[in-house]
Amino acid sequence: MATLRAHGIEAQLPAGFEGRIFTRASSDGAVPYPVAQFASFPLPVQVGDFGGGAVNLLGNSDIFTVLFEYGPESVGRHLFARQGMPRALGSSDFRPYALRRGLPGQSGTQWFFTEGGRPFTLYVVLGSHLGRDALVPKVNQLLARVAVVPAGQSEAPPGPPSDATGGLPWN
């Protein structure tokens, strides 16, 4: 099982998954924040933060997941009121119209939350909306193995929380 660890995010990838955790180069003085991307297919070298250049490669049985961190100024805002990353998504959480780039047959979901004092959005794309019942458990298997180091700490992240409550999906 491959383990990724960088920028305060750790993920143990299920078999067949690829992933990267990175920060963009700073531009115009903006502070770059980490982006984690996970996919059940080969990730291209150049991929947009939310899957541009990758989601068009999804097969019917593929999954693409993004964990995107925002700046600390977002902490405490209503959008990020949910505490903890959702780790048990349901099939009903996915909708074809929740995609940032609407591609036929695909389905997506997006959640905003705060974990460890760090504001994130989780964006997941399924290759097939019709096959979501089979794909969502794979997504949950991945999410269960993603951990976030609390803000201000540099040591290894704690295990995923057992119960994340509150908040609603964006879609």
């Binding site: 990724l4 960088a6 067949g16 690829e18 992933g19 990267r20 297919f41 080969p42």
Partner: protein, 278 residues
């Protein structure tokens, strides 16, 4: 003359000390062997015999890479020279992946780093993904790797991957077939055109076996006990049971089916018909 005698005396004295030291070391070794129960002779009399052999603790380590499936293609996870984390799964891809194990310091690797500056001119089969893998940051200097890697090149720094793929040294190349999820070629080269040739040959061989062979173990990419079990099933299905003479060739002719030559000058038809091993 006196000086010569003194020098000789000193040399003899030194030699004597050296021999005495060696004899003492030898005695220590013999004593240690006897304490472990594997000594020769009985310096301790019958005492060691009465005590019986002394057990020697043996600790079994994890399986060596060679004891694992020799064709499996494990995921490669590590960091990029920029400090980001990156993991690829060559065995899960739908196409071939060429893993290039390089270092920033080896002279032969320098030519490969230069070749990778023009990825469009590498000559690899369409769809082949190139991943460069160096050892981890604990053994490589990320800044040096950054200086050699083309911006569009995927580079992972992972010492673990070198162990997983049993890399003997840099440069080393492994070709993974994404459809079967197994290694179909690996080796060393001095120039990238040699690697390209290896890739084309390995890909053609894999296609040929997949398309024409009736050997499911190979086509399925089985290895280890699964491969042997599958071979046994195929032999049984072909009516070749344990003890079948074809399983025990007595000469190369039995294997290759060469026709023997009748050296007696008799009728050619009298020669023993060739028998092909099952």
């Amino acid at each position: 003359m006196v000086a010569l005698a003194v020098v000789v005396s000193v040399v003899v004295l030194l030699m004597a000390v050296l021999v005495a030291g060696l004899l003492r070391s030898h005695a220590d070794i013999l004593r240690a062997l006897h304490e472990l129960g594997v000594g020769v002779g009985e310096p301790g009399g019958d005492r060691s015999r009465d005590q019986g052999p002394t057990g020697v603790p043996v600790t079994m380590g994890p399986p060596l890479p060679g004891e694992r499936s020799s064709t499996s293609a494990r995921s490669v996870a590590g960091v990029t020279p920029d400090g980001d984390a990156l993991a690829v799964s060559p065995g899960g891809a739908g196409h071939a992946t060429l893993l290039a194990f390089l270092s920033s310091g080896c002279a032969t690797c320098a030519g490969f780093w230069r070749s990778f500056e023009q990825p469009d001119r590498l000559g690899l089969p369409p769809g082949t993904r190139l991943i460069v893998i160096t050892k981890g940051p604990e053994l490589e200097v990320p800044a040096e790797v950054t200086g050699k890697a083309h911006r569009g090149l995927t580079v992972i720094m992972s010492t673990e991957a070198w162990v997983d793929y049993e890399v003997p040294g840099a440069p080393f190349f492994v070709l993974v077939d994404g459809r079967s999820g197994r290694r179909i070629g690996e080796g060393v080269a001095n120039h990238f055109p040699q690697v390209v040739e290896m890739v084309h040959r390995a890909a053609a061989d894999a296609d040929g076996f997949t398309a024409t062979t009736t050997s499911r173990p190979f086509a399925d990419g089985l290895d280890g006990p699964e491969r042997e079990a599958a071979n046994d099933r195929e032999l049984l299905a072909a009516g070749i049971h344990p003890g079948d003479p074809s399983l025990y060739p007595r000469s190369l002719d039995d294997i290759h089916g060469a026709v023997t030559v009748d050296r007696s000058g008799g009728h050619p038809g009298a020669s023993r018909p060739a028998r092909r091993a099952g």
